[in-house]
Symmetry: C4
Subunit: 193 residues, 4 copies
């Protein structure tokens, strides 16, 4: 997690929905208990470590959208050079700028439910927005349009993925970052280096 | 080892053949004793730590094929960005897509039996397949056609190498990954970045 | 910090100005107390650990210029491959060789005072010079011409940034290095690889 | 040090010349006392830890050549991807294939005796050879032709540098590797990626 970017969450209970999420300014190094907050499905804080002034991640509404639409147990958001690059310029033969398509790689088998390299994974790309309720709606519509997607990219921002557990989400991040780098290096956009 | 990919094995005894191999879901971080299983030459588990539900690596039959045909003491399989790239598009002057040719590098001297940089190493590229018995046969035929090869690539999958010991196999991995990156950066395929 | 390059400082007091700065030969590994010196606003050492022969960083005058003009609490200077590259050849669409322009990235939000990805950050590029008083004057004029800049590049040398605290300056370094690599890889100069 | 490649030495005494050098098979991880051997100026072992079968590095004669011609106190030889690449194809504007020229970078100031970025460093490139006495002669002639050089490259092999101490040699390696990567990325040969 670089420069206070990135965040992650885990579902504590489903009815009512309670989500444990990292606070808005992630400290470098080890997280402490006061860096995790518990929110309801509107993104409002319901449990706070005494005395802390921390606020939940600005992107809490995106986590909630993902948890509700996908039944995810955990959500992970990271920024990386390769995901930022691929969110912004589509490599030829890999989509049209609103969806990144990756197929044929053994690595795809680590994505939940994927059992063969002969799988075509579509990763939708969503335009970034500072208006979180509006962005959350756009994310929700995107997830609805792509029910099989394991992840989506925010343009010039980063990668969102999820899983039943945080370990599943982490595995997805590793796999997708690996594939982004492989594709970015071999078939980048026209002006890529 | 990323996203549960990669695996390795070591020969415990030759007659009968007993192979210690990593289980099918490699945990991140340190391996524990219950993550290593012992198999016979059909890939069936013969020894299991009590209470474990682990299954041997899905690619056990490939390890057995290598051990039998090359008399290897250990087999190592890894996924990396550069090996995945080079398995998929042949850099000009380095083969024809079914064999990757590397020569002239001092680093080649670390491969078993190679004593000069004036050595031409041929690394065959095998198409990936989820049908393991079929893939194992294809690997066996490939190893027969290339008796001097120290390694082979599975297309869009990764690198397999071996040695008398796991340390030898590790040294081979380091050498080949180094060479893949060097070649990939200098003489990649036409659209590479 | 490679090869004794790079340096950092923190303001100990403002009136009179006292700056704690790394000595001229940064030892590899952990810094010791004798590696930090205290200087006044002319760059003269005012406090020295007994017995040390250390001299303040050769670039102390640049740190002082930044502290005075920006009211910074800490200054950080690093050398990196990507910052060196971007200081030297301007990627098309990102400035004219004397200023590097970066916009549209969520990562920009970590820069002090930046609240949206729809922000255009201008990073001036200053020609390197071994004459420190002359270079300090040039840096001062550059900071005056670009009052909103969070950093500047020294051509074929490296990156200077600052913040209220060393942690803020570190966050700026992380963000800018990330953006330099992203831009360098996607839209490098005409002959870039 | 990858795959048993790379080696280093330090002068123990000058008259007679005694050189402590790493043995021919560098173990991974921490070196032990039995991994360092002492040689005379013909490269013959004069002191050996009892019971060890280790042989001195195959490249001992190159170390001796450098120590004698440059009066170096330590010699360091490494293999890296960027040094291997730059030894093999000359980037335009950086020499003619037998000498690599680097100038204008602040990083050059870490090389012994260099006090300004306005310095032109010439790094000769020597063809590799398994015949060590012959290669040592070629290295000697090259060092004579380039009395100001701080290092030389062995084609498709790696980098040799030296210094008064091992720390000086290490600093040279860091500086040169940094510059190789910077140049390799910005102005590589015609087919570079």
């Amino acid at each position: 997690m670089l420069g206070t970017s990135g965040n992650f969450s885990a579902v504590v209970s489903r009815k009512p929905l309670r989500l444990a999420i990292t606070s808005s300014s992630l400290p470098k190094g080890t997280l402490r208990a006061s860096d995790i907050l518990e929110c309801d499905e509107e993104g409002r804080v319901v449990t706070k470590v005494k005395g802390t002034k921390a606020k939940p991640s600005a992107e809490t509404l995106l986590h909630i959208e993902i948890v509700k639409r996908r039944g995810a147990g955990a959500v992970l958001h990271t920024h990386s050079v390769w995901s930022t690059m691929l969110s912004d310029a589509w490599p030829s033969g890999h989509g049209d700028g609103s969806v990144l398509a990756i197929e044929g790689y053994e690595m795809l088998k680590g994505l939940a439910g994927v059992t063969s390299h002969e799988h075509r994974e579509l990763i939708p790309i969503v335009d970034n927005d500072q208006d979180m309720p509006r962005l959350a709606r756009r994310v929700g519509e995107t997830l609805e349009r792509h029910p099989a997607a394991h992840a989506f990219l925010l343009r010039r921002h980063g990668l969102y993925t999820w899983g039943d557990t945080l370990a599943d989400a982490e595995r997805h991040i590793e796999i997708l970052e690996f594939l982004f780098e492989t594709i970015g290096r071999t078939q980048g956009g026209p002006s890529w280096r």
